[in-house]
Amino acid sequence: MAQRLLIPIGPQHPALKEPLGFRFRVEGERVLETHIRMGYVHRGIERACQERTYIQDLYLVERICGICSHIHTTAFCQGVEELLGVEVPRRALYIRTIVCELERIHSHMLWLGVLGRDAGFETLFMYTWRDRETVLDILEEISGNRINHAVNTIGGVRIDFTQAHIESILKRLDYLEEQAHYYLGLVTTESTFVARTHGVGYLSREDGRALCVVGPTTRASGVDRDVRRDDPYAAYEELPFEVVTASEGDALARTVVRVKEVIESVRMVRYALQNSPQGEVRVKVRRRVPPGEVISRVEAPRGELIYYIKSDGTERPARVKMRTPTLANLVAIPHMLKEAHIADGPIVLAAIDLCIACADR
C-alpha cells in the first residue's frame, strides 16, 4: 500500500504569483484531502475603510486587487450613490461599463496565459500577455494608468472619451477579437492542451449550485448565472449580450467559457462605444452620506462581487464589507482536488482564477 504523506506547498510557490498555503494529504499520487491556509495578504482593508472618508476609500478599495480594480470601485460607488440617492448621468454609466468590460478582457487574457503556463504551454502565456498589452494600452490612453485606473468617482466618472479615443479603441478591438477567435481554436484543438485540461477539476452542476460557486467557474458547470443579466447595473440593461455557459464542468470548459466571454466583451465594448449617449459624466454629491445600509452586486471577471455599506450620516462609512468571488470559489477547491493527481493541482487552482489579494483583503 502506498504511504500516506502530507505535502505542504506555499506560501511562496511557483504555481501562483500570490502567497497561499496548501497542505495535500496524498496516498501515492492521489490527493485525499486538501487544506487551504490563507491570510498572508490580509491587510485589514475593511477596517481601514471605516477610518477614511468615502472619497479616500475609493482609492483604497481600488487597490484591493490589481487585476479587477475597476469593478471594486464600481461596486463601492454604486452602493454609495444609492445611499445618497443621486442619479448618475447615463454617459457615465456607459463609460463605467466600457471600462468594466475592458478590464474583463484583460483579466481573462491574463488568466489564460497563467493557465497555459501551469499546463506547460509557455507559448500561450507569451502570446496572450502580448495581446493583453493592447487592452492595457487602451486603458492607459483613456485613464492615464495601465492598472488602477481611478475612473470611477462617487456620482459618475472622472474621464470622458473623445472621438479620437473611440476610433483608436475600435481599431484595436478588431485585433483583439481576431486573436480571441484564434485562442478559442487553439485551446479546443491543441491536443496536448486538451489532454492536460479535459476532465481535470470536475465540478458537477449540482455541486456548483450547492457550494455557491460563482462566475465563469460555475457557468462552465452549466449554472446559468450572471449578475450583469440577472440584476443589471450600470448600462448593462441596454447592451445586447449573451451569457456564455458550458456543461462539461472541467478545466477545459472553464477555458472555453472565458475565451468566449472575451469575444462577448469585445462586442459589448464596441456596441457601447458606438451607442453611448452624450452629456455630462458626473454630478456633484454631498460629502456626508445619509444614514442607511445598502447591498451592491456586480459581476467581476471572477464572478459575483458583493459590497455591503453602512452609513451613520458622517463623512466616513460605519462599515464596509466585501464578499469577493475568489472567497466563494475557494470552497470548491478541496472538492475538485479529491482523488485528483498531484500534478493536476496547479491546473485545478489556475482554472478557478484565484485572486488571493481579493480573498484576503
Binding site: Q12, K17, Y59
Partner: protein, 139 residues
Amino acid sequence: MLDGLIRWARRKSPWILHFNTGGCNGCDIELLDALTPRFDVERLGILQKATPRHADVLVCAGPVTRQARDRLLRIYEQMPEPKWVVAIGSCACSGGVFRGCYNVLGGIDQVIPVDMYVPGCPTKPEAIIDGLVKLLEGI
C-alpha cells in the same frame, strides 16, 4: 582579476525571485509583464526562478503584512550570498495606501535591507527594468 570576472558574470545574468508580501497584484503582474514579449527582459539574461536558492535578486511587491513577515525573512535567509533586494511599488517602499492598516508593518525595509526602491502605483514595467539596470550598474 578574478573578482572582476565574477563581478562581470553577476552583472550579466541576475536571476530574480518574486515574492508578494501582501500586495494587490498590480505590481506583481507588471513584473511578469516585463518578462513577456513587449519588454522581454529574458533576452538580457534576467530569469525568474521558482526557488530562493537559485536567485540573486529578491523582488518584493506590496506592504509587509504580519503574516508574510516570517516567510519573507525565511526566503531572504535561504538565498545564497551575495543577494540584493528590490522593492517595487509604493507599498513595498513605504506601505503606501495601506499605511496604518492594523495588519501592515510598512515597507519591505522594516524587515530586510532593501537595495533599490522603485516607486509607482503600480510601477510600470519600464520603471522596474530601469531599477534593475541601476541596481546592476552598482554591482
